[in-house]
Structures are given as C-alpha cells and as structure tokens.
C-alpha cells in the first residue's frame, strides 16, 4: 500500500513559522461559520425540535399514533435503532481494530469515524426509550436498588441491550475524547477569548511532553484492546434481541456474525457518505486521498460478501430445516407483501457493491458516494425486512397483520437523522475532522521511509 505522495509536502513549513500546513488546512473548517453551514445547522436543529415535539405528542396520546398493529409490535423505531447501532461500528473498527493491526491509513479517517460512532450511539440510544409504551418508566429497565426489591430480568436480551449500549456509549466517548486531546491542545494554542477557556479545560493540561505522549499512546492502545471486543459484542447482543426469540425469521444462530458484518458494512458506507462531502467542502483532498477510499472500498466489498453469504445461509437453512414456519416466513419475505424491501436489500447490499471489484470505481468518489447511499438504504431495509416481515407472518396464520409506517414515526425518524446531523455539524466547528497528530505521524512515517512501505 503506497502512501500518497501528495501528503509529502503537507509538513513543509509555510511562510508563517511554528505552524505546519496540516495544522492550517485541517483547522481551517473550524474557523468562521458561513451561511450554508448555519443554514444546515439551523435545519438540523429545527428537525430535532419537531422530532421531540412529535415524540411528546406520541407519548402523550399513546403509541397508537405509530403504525403498530397486532401482531407487529416493533416497527421503524427498532429498525432505526439497529441501523444507528450498526453505523457506529465502523468507527470502533477503524479506531480500535485497525489500530491494533497497525493499518496506518486509518489515521486520516479515524477521527471522523469515531465521531460518527459517538453520534450514532447517541442517536441509537434514543430509540429504545422512545419506543416504550410508557417511556416515563424507562428507569424500570435499569437494575437500580430500590425499597421494593424490584429487580430486572437478566434473562431478557433487552436488558443485555441496556448494558451493551451503555458500555458502548461510554467506551466510544472516552476513546474519542482521548484521541482528541492533542488536537484540542493545538486548538487551544490558537484560540482566543471564550473558546480558549473551553479548549483549555478540555485539553486537560496537554503540553505534548514525552511522558504525556507515552501515556497517551498507552491509553489508546489499551482502550483499543477494550474496544475491540465491543465491535463484536455490541451488535451481537443487539442481534440476540431477535435471535433469542422464537419468531420464525429471527430465531437463527447466524444472527450475531451476520449482524456484526452488516454493521461494519453499513458503518463504512456511512463513513464514506460523510467523508466524501467533508473532503470536498473543506478541501481536505490532500489528506483524504484515493488511497483511503480504496482501502475503505475493499472493506465494503469484503463485508458485502459476508452479508450476501449470510442472506444466502438464512434462506438455505430455512429450506434445509424443512420447517414450514421458517420456509413460509422466508418465502413470504421474498415474495410476500414486503418483497420490495427484501429485493431492495439484496440488490443494494449484495449486488451493487460487486462493482467495487473494479479499481476505477473504487476511487471514483461520486460513484462511491452514490453506492454508499444505496448501501445505507439497503442496510435500513435489511432491518426492516428482518423485523417487519418476520412479525407479520408468524405461527398463527389467523393473526397475520400488516405494518404501515405512520407520519408520526416518519417525523421521529427524521428527527433522529437531524439529531445526528446536528451533533456532527457542531463537531465540525469545534474539533478538527482529521486527527492532526496522527496524520503528522503518518506523514513523517511516509517521509522517513520514502514512501516505500
């Protein structure tokens, strides 16, 4: 893998001393707030506000305003929950596993990916709460000590979810923050006024000394070690929400690896979907090069194949089991009322990514952007298919039903995307989108080795 030569001059001193080109380039987006940015942020906040208002209405009137009907008791809230949890996985994978594997190319994209993880988990975490029939009773789900000795059910996969998500959220935030410290310190050194105070507090007295760097790299290493199993466990636990049940179409042992692969797949697609416009808008072409996109594309292709395999295995096992419940469930998945979702899922997730076998396409950014958009759509539909089709055609044929998304649900889902965007937009202005310190490391590395790596 050849580091891009374009990066070589990023370290070259400019006219202004004591600052590198990388610092200036990467910090540039944090300066000022042009009107398109403000407009986007305003729209995002508006979306969040409407989402919360609609949510309040839903909680007040009752979940009947959502599209649930017997026997489909979970709908787009859980679908979107799984979707967002999945998105987060790319970040953890990039920052932890690729770190441990010393895949240096990750340095340019890991900040963004980690940020996505944090915001995705923040978004995902909303859904298990807002889908509750009595969301004001959400504290029932936590094992808190109380006088009445009420306890939670440790057999329930939903409880495992509570722990999985809270662990995931805390590790992701810590990881993200530790990685940010050197860059915050750099921002602190350049900031003035009120910003300086905030950055000073957040920088935790970072001076860039040797011992500090040593401690920093140690903590990143250890946190990577801690986070690595999470990549596998969090989505495995989420998948058990389904796999541990008895519903045909859910009850499958393949769910854990299948969900993890899907999560990484979708997560990478989301990273690319965000990275490509960010690179363009903030002119970071120097730091985010074909080299990165090609590597990410390969990952997408790889995970897409795993997903395709998992889909195939599901159908094979359903057929091979000779159990009519399973067979009917899967037959109706593909040819029943939700056939469109199923085929969208298969085409977007398994067929389209095969184009990435062509190197030209792997580095064609408009193509990649479009492809990743479809992958995200496909991954959303994957969860839709798993949840809705399975529930709508269960054991008791006399209790079959149909789920139709309601405007309330659409409003809340839009709100969740705005919520995610809002945090992301705020992040863009607060912190460098590329880990400057790590990029520098990469550049120095490239220089030292003359690119022959």
């Amino acid at each position: 893998m050849t580091p891009p030569p374009a990066m070589a001059d990023a370290m070259s001193p400019l006219s202004r001393p004591r600052d590198s080109r990388a610092n200036i380039d990467i910090m540039a987006p944090t300066k000022g707030a042009p009107w398109p940015y403000l407009l986007a942020l305003g729209l995002a906040i508006l979306g969040v506000v409407q989402g919360f208002l609609v949510l309040a209405y839903q909680a007040y009137v009752g979940l009947g305003v959502a599209g649930y009907q017997q026997p489909i008791f979970w709908g787009v809230y859980i679908i979107t929950f799984v979707f967002w949890i999945g998105i987060g996985h790319a970040g953890t994978l990039i920052s932890a596993i690729l770190f441990l594997f010393r895949a240096k190319w990750r340095n340019a994209v890991n900040r963004l990916a980690e940020a996505l993880t944090v915001f995705a988990v923040l978004t995902a975490g909303l859904f298990p709460v807002l889908h509750l029939g009595r969301l004001w009773k959400v504290y029932f789900l936590f094992p808190y000590p109380n006088q009445r000795a009420l306890w939670v059910n440790f057999k329930s996969p939903l409880l495992w979810d509570v722990f999985a998500i809270s662990t995931y959220a805390s590790i992701s935030i810590v990881f993200f923050y530790i990685g940010l410290i050197p860059d915050i310190a750099m921002a602190r050194d350049r900031a003035t006024g009120g910003k300086k105070i905030v950055y000073t507090i957040l920088a935790l007295g970072w001076q860039g000394t040797g011992p500090q760097w040593k401690a920093h790299s140690r903590s990143v290493l250890h946190l990577s070690g801690l986070a690595t199993p999470l990549v596998l466990s969090v989505h495995s636990v989420v998948s058990w929400d389904f796999a541990m049940s008895i519903v045909p179409g859910w009850h499958a042992t393949i769910f854990a690896p299948y969900f993890v692969a899907g999560a990484v797949f979708g997560g990478f697609a989301m990273v690319l979907n965000v990275l490509i416009p960010v690179r363009r808008i903030f002119r970071l072409e120097r730091y985010l090069t074909d080299y990165h996109f090609e590597n990410m594309s390969r990952f997408i292709l790889f995970t897409s194949i795993i997903c395709g395999y998992a889909y195939g295995v599901e159908y094979f096992i359903a057929w091979y089991s000779n159990v009519e419940f399973e067979q009917s469930s899967f037959w109706l998945r593909a040819f029943g009322p939700y056939w469109l979702s199923t085929w969208a899922m298969i085409v977007f997730n398994c067929v389209f990514p095969q184009l990435l076998w062509f190197k030209k396409l792997r580095t064609n950014l408009p193509f990649l952007f479009a492809l990743c958009f479809f992958i995200n759509l496909g991954m959303w539909f994957e969860r839709y298919v798993i949840i809705i089709t399975s529930l709508s055609r269960e054991f008791i044929t006399g209790s079959w039903g149909l789920y139709i998304i309601s405007p309330v649900e659409i409003a809340v889902i839009v709100g969740s995307f705005c919520w995610f965007s809002m945090w992301f937009l705020l992040f863009l202005k607060a912190f460098p989108v590329i880990a400057i310190a790590e990029v520098k490391e990469l550049i120095i590395h490239a220089k030292d080795h003359g690119g022959a790596h």
């Binding site: 009752g62 979940l63 009907q69 509750l132 029939g133 008895i246 519903v247 009519e324 009917s328 008791i396």
Partner: protein, 1010 residues
Amino acid sequence: MPELDRRDFLKLVGVSAGTAATACADPVEKLVPYVIQPESVTPGLASYYASTCTECSASCGMVVKTREGRPIKLDGNPKNPINRESLCARGQASLGRTYHPDRIPGPLASAGDNTQQAITWEEGMTRLTGSLKKASGRTYILGGPVGPSLSGVLDNLAAASGGKRIVYEPFSHDALLSATEAVFGIRTLPLFDPEKADLIIDMGSDFLATGLSPCENSRQFADARDVRTHPDGGTRMISISPRLNSTTQSSDEWIAAGTGSQGAIAFALAKAVYDKYGAPAGVDEETVEAFLNGPSLSEAASVADIDPGQLQKVAKALLAAEAPLVMPPGVAGTDSSAASTATAVMLINLMTGAVGRSVQIPPASAGTPVATQSDLEALVKEMKAGRVDVLLVHDSNPVYSMPPALGFQDALSQVGTVVSFASMKDETSEAAALVLPNHGNMEVWGDVAPRPGVRSLIQPTIRPLMDTQALGDTLLEATRALGGTAPEGSFFKVVQDNWSDVDWAEAVGNGGVYTDVEIPVPAAQADFSGLAYSAPDMAGSGEFKLLAFPHSMLGDGTGAALPWLQEIPETVTKLEWNSWVELSFATAEKFGVDFGDVVEIETPAGKFDVSVFPRGGIRDDTIAIPTGQGHTVGFYASMEGEGERPSWFQVESPAGTKGVPRGVNVMSILSATPDEKGGRTWLNSMASVKKTGRFRRLALAQWTDNQRERRLAQAVTLAKANGHDDGHHGDGHGGGHHDGPPHTFEAKYDADPKVPYRWGMAIDNDRCDGCNACVAACYIENNIPVVGEAQAINHREMSWLRVERYIGEGHVGGGADRRPIPRLEELGKLDIRYVAMPCQQCGAAPCEAVCPTLATYHNKEGLNGMIYNRCAGTRYCANNCSYKVRRFNYFDYGQENFPGMLGMMLNPDVTVRQQGVMEKCSFCVQRIEHGRQLAKDEDRPIADGEVNVACAAACPTNSITFGNLRDDTSQVVKEADQPNRSYHLLQELNLRSSITYLAKVNREDPEGVA
C-alpha cells in the same frame, strides 16, 4: 379534553423531562367508603340476583352479579332449564344497556325544529294523558312482545284509551306461526330439541346462532353429538342453504341449494315422507295430497340448481332416520311462500313423529298475538289516513326496523302525537313528540312466560341511574288518569300480585318458577286453505337474489347499540363494526371488485352503497347482506362515537357526527311482499350490483382461513376419535399422539412442586360452534375496552380471547397479499374448524423470558402473571408470543373508551389498564383468588368446579373446561384425557401449553345414518 388534568399533566412532565426522572405518573384514585353501609352490601363481595334476559325472545334466565350496588356481569341461571349456566354474547353484552351513553336522561318533548327539550315527569304525564284523552279512541300502542304483567298493564291502557295494541317484532317468525296454525290450529312457536333427533335436516333455520333459542339449541346440539357419550358420532345434520351460515358450518353436509328453493325442497321431501309414512293421524289423505301437490325430488333439485342425486340422498337419509327433525327456514329464508314451506316442514315433522319428540307444540300464549305484516299494513293505512291521533311505542324501534316499502316512516308525520317509552335513544324516540323513558333493563321489575313450565322474573339490580320511570308505572298512571281500570299500587305490586300463586321470595331467588311439564301433542287439525306450493315472488329484475340474513351478533338491529356486539367478529365472516355485501368470488371477479370495494346495490325498493366481502361460501346467483346496521341514532350504533382517535389509515370516515349511519340497513331496500298468510318476508327482492369505484375498508379480524397445514385446528375422523386407526394416513389429521409430534409433556408439572394447583383448560373444538359467547364474557369480566372501527381496521382489538376460524388443513402457499382475505370456502364443502384462543399459560412461556422488567412472570400455580404496574411497554413479550394473545394499550383505552357511565360496569376486581402497557388473558385470576379466599376461610383446598373462568361459564356448548391439572379427578383432567383427539397448539415449539384442545371430529357422510 377540556382541561389538563393531573394525570395528563404528569404525563407531559414525564415527556418534557425526556426521560423518567419525574417518577410516577400513575393516577391516584381514592377509595371512598360508605358513610352508612347498607346491611346487604359487603364491600368487596358480590351479590347475585336472578333475573331474565330480554335481548331476544328465548328469554334465558340469568344471574346478575352486582358489586357495591352495580351490576357488573351477567351469567346464565343454572336453575333455568332453557339456557342453564350459559349465556350468549348478546345476553352478556346487554348489561351495557344500563350504563349506555345513549340512555335518555329524562322525559323529553319535541321543541319543533327536530330538537327535543327536557321536561318534568308531571308535564310529561300531563301531555300523555292530555293527548290520550283528546285522541278519543284513535290510539295505537305499538311495541315488542313483553311479559304477562306488562302486557296486562298495556291492555288496561288500551282499554282505557279505547285504543288498540299491536305487538310488533321484526323477526316475527310469521311463517312458523302460520304453519302451526295450519297443522294444529294453534298459532304458536314450536320448541325444538335437536338433542332428541338422530338426523337434522336444516332448511336454513340457523338455529344455532339466530334461531328461536340459540343458547339452548346449541347446548342440545353439542350434547347430541358428543363423541364420548355417542361413539357413533351422535346426531347428524344436513344443511340446505344458499349461504354458509353459522349453523351450516356445524353440519355434516351442506347442500348449497338455490336461494328461494327451500319451498320446492320442503314440498318434495314432504311428499317423499308422505309416501312412506302416510297421512298423520287426524288428517285425511286427500287434504294432505292436495296440499303436497308440489314438485318431485328431481324437479325440486332442478329448481334448487343442485344435483338430483344429492336431494335423493337427503330424502333417503330422512326416510331412513329413526328420529329425524327438519328445521324450518329461518328469517333469511322467508319468501312469499314461506307459510306454505313452513307448513310442509311442520307436516314432515308430524308425519315422521318428530312432533312430540324433538318438536313440541306449546299452547298459544295468552295475550295479544304478534302482529303479521298485514296488521302493520293496516296500521300504516290508518296512519296515512290521519286516523291515528296517538301512537305509543314501547320496546321496539319501528322507524328503523319496518321496511320503508311499507310506508310507516312516511306515515309517521300524519300521526297526531308519537310517544316513545324507549330507555335508550333510537330512531323512533328521536322522531317522537314525547319521550317518557323507561328504566334500563337492570332497573325494572317484570316477568316472562316463555314456555309451559317456565315462568321467569325480571328484577331490578340497581337503582335507576336516570330520571326515568318504569314503563309499567307510567302506563298505570296514565290508565288511572283516563279513568280506566287499573290494578292498585305500583307496577311492582302488579307483578307481585300476578305471582301470588307461588312463594314470591323463592321465585325471586330462583329467578322464576320452573316445573317439569309434559307438553301434550296437540291433535292435528289440518287446514291448508290458502297454502300451496308456489315459486317465490321476487320483486325486481336485478341479476341477483338478495339474501338478507340475521347478523349473529346484532340480530334485528337491537344489538347494534352495544359496542361489544359491534366489535366481536361476526361468527362466520369475522367482520366487525360495519355492513358488507357478500358476493361469491366469481361474482366479485365479474364486477372487478375485491374486498372493501364499494358497490351499489339496487332493488325496486331502494338502493345503497356497501363494501364487498367476497367469499366462497355463497352461491353465484345470490348476494347477501346482514341485518342490524345502518342506524342513524346512537353512540355506537351510528358513527357518532367513532373516530375520536387519530388514525392514519382510515380511507373514508364520516366519523364523530350525529346522524351518520354506520353501514346500511338492508331492510330499507327490501320489498314489503307478504307471505300467503300476511307474514313478513325477508327474501323478496332481486338486486342489481354496480361498481362505484370507491373503496371503504372493512374491519376484518382474521385475514386468512388457511392454516397452512400447521395443524392449529385439527380434525380427526370418527373412527380415529373412537381409537380405531382409520387407515387414512394421508388425511388422518390430528390426534397429537399418533401422527403429530409425541405428546411428551404433562402440563401439570409446570408449577411450583409445593403448591397443589396448576391451572389448565380443555377446549373441545368439536363442541364449539364459534358463537363468541366466551369472547363477550371475557370482554365484560376483564374490563376489556372496545376500540372502535378505525382501530379495529388496524387490528388493534383488545380481546383477550378470540375464536379463530380455519377451513380444512389449509395448504402451504398464498399469504402473499398485503391484506389476505379468507379464500378457502367452497360451495357445498364443509370442514370449518374453530379454535378458541385464550392465553395458553405456557409452562415454558416465551413471553416471560424476554421481559426486561419481569412484568410478566410465571407464578407458582403455573399462570403467566402480568404486572401492569411494572410494564414499561417494550412489547417484546407480544412479539415473542407464538399464540399472539397479547394485547397492547395503544391509547389510554382504560380511561377513555368507557364513555359516560360505562365505567360503572367495570369489574372492580380487575385492574383497568393504563396507556402503554401490555395485557392478556389471566385465566380470570381474580376468580381464582376469590375461590382461594373462600377455601382458605374453611381451611381446605379449592374444590374442583368451585372456580370457573368467565369464558367457560358462558359457553353455551360447554366446550371449555377449566380446572386444576394436579387434581387427577378434576373435570378438566378427565376432559383432556381423550388421547385420540387431544393436542396442544404448536406443540412442536415445546412451549408446554396448559390448554389441551380436543380435535374436531369429522363424521362420515350422513348417507349411512340409519
């Protein structure tokens, strides 16, 4: 919601805080004790009063359960020989009339411009007596059949005012009355006992659901066919009906004879019977032969458009049977020759000896006979001529239920003063100049004499809730004011005096006096004048015969006001809340319409638009529309109470407005053709169908009748039920022991080893006829809210118990439609299987494991408990329930779906569930706990039969048995121990259900019945 109350405020706080830091948002409700406690009331303990059901003419006995002075549940009166301990869905639901939002608060007088204003009783009585005095004999009293005491009081008023009484009933059974008159000279309704027959030929009577005494007949029919007492399968039934109805479904053979051919078939069969048995005693042969001058069997078969061999077979079976019984056509089959047809049927029963065995001819009841349509025509003529000054209407709703073709509605404006005594507002009370509301059905004294040997009392069980007066008292007062002769004292005294021949206290305690009376077989006095076979006269030139059939829940329309009857899926179609027209699949295809498409139905008498329900169980030349809907007045009966909920899927909803009818009233497009004896007919019109291109979705509770060979509703052959391998491995369905997964577990082990109980149930699908009494009982016992049409369309019914209907074994395939509809019915084919589906109280319940808060859990006695207060509403349990019996409170149903006083009928022993929590069948745990208290007081275990669940108690056919599986002598264990046909639902999932189903028995072809 005018104001923000405390509960809503807390909810809002809870929401705006984002999460739950605000703690508890549950309502605080205060228990207010009696200041002076009545002696007869112990708070927390129910009092029971015997009374009589007045929903239909069967007059079943009932026991009213009251708590703290409020009736909360109706059950059958075990002492009453008619229905014993069971009570049908209509009877169960009638409790709601007392607390109904439609109750008229007090006397009303019309204030011009179609409004009514409240007046005082003094003023009301003054107006009533004033107009009666002025009327100088031009007074008519129109009303439904009432008991002897009230009837006497009505007669007094009629005499005092010089007026005339007309007893009017929409389902009047005129033809049957004419038939008994023709054959025996007695105008009376026969009593049928299917249990005493070995072969029933049903000519479309629908006696199991909408006949003369459905509760009683269902029990008799089920007993007659119980395979344990009748290893030969018991009574067989052949149904002759153009449409698959509730009774046809329970038959062994269905002959889909043409609509309107029942006359031809009856005459042909009668002739065949005559040829074998000869003329009955007391009737000369010429008379019979002259009367039976009708079509031969083959001619009848061609009229009926069926294979002559089929009819030959029926005749053969009829002649071969030892104790045959032919059931005359019911309401749906009354055409212009209905009286002759019924007479022919009655003659068959006389000739075969069924009269005296399975048909009793009671003496004619005293008092005013039920008016025929001719009498009504005469009334309308008088009204039109302006010769009716006062029309008093009681216990009926003629504005709704008279066919407009008769002109009653138009003639009403010619009447001087219309007075309504209704206790609930209806079309007639809205049109009345004066409304003097009667007490509710739980607030009055009364009596009924339904048949020889049964005299029942109606007693009040709650103080009047409204400013109303018992109809009897109003009438007495008016009679006295007119100077007529009236008995002393109040109407209660009148009733008491009429019962002075018996021990009053004992009679009140037992709900009446029941004696074993041998009804003598009256001598035949054949007078067939005016009766002869003729082809029915169908008005109009439409392409289809219009079959107006009685709705099994709503009856003649009186049930439409009761929300439970609207929401409980109709027995055969599983449709709720609205009207539909049944077209055969071929007809629907011809018009290019499918489920929910609106078509225009036109007859000479009128037309209306109605949604299509295509089905296989109806002939191509016939369309069928149920009675009962199309009310323009009433909170539930019309669209007035509908649509307060946001709904995103509702296509067309003129909801929440007064005066908008719910569905259509089929009576409005029927002709007024009478039968030969002037009786009312229901099968009298040809109709044309026109596609409108519009669509109105119907609430269909069950989308498919295909069980995809999943063996949810199993059936065995008779041989198999008796333990013989029938050698048909290919279709030897059912019997979990043999060709299903092995019966590997004993449900009784799934409870704490130290407790003596594990509650369980046995449900006999062979006895079940799908009548829904259990569902109604469950609704009322467990405070289950009714959700309304818009929510029912979204499959959000809250019923804890549903009765699923499957046809045959089904086939793997189909189900790919977005909203499938039942498609397996076939003309002339029967294999309809019902599965009552309460919570299975699994031993290894999938719902319990997944609840994160332990809101649902396994209790020590094996029940799946549900702690509403602990439920956060993740709904995981409902997803994981394989039987789909869990129900979710999508809205604040408990608070909002019991409008007005309906909340007063809530069972105080059962929590009213909050918005956002899950609920399900609890095996009536409140009843178990009550039983436990009683047993504990006496320091003994709960005895078998001491605790019964509401569904099992209500079931007319005793299909459901509840009890303790750990007691080897209990009824439920004995019932479940029928290894040849017992099975557990979805046994292969190993959920260890505590309910044992007994497979339906498919009896072989009735041809072989000797």
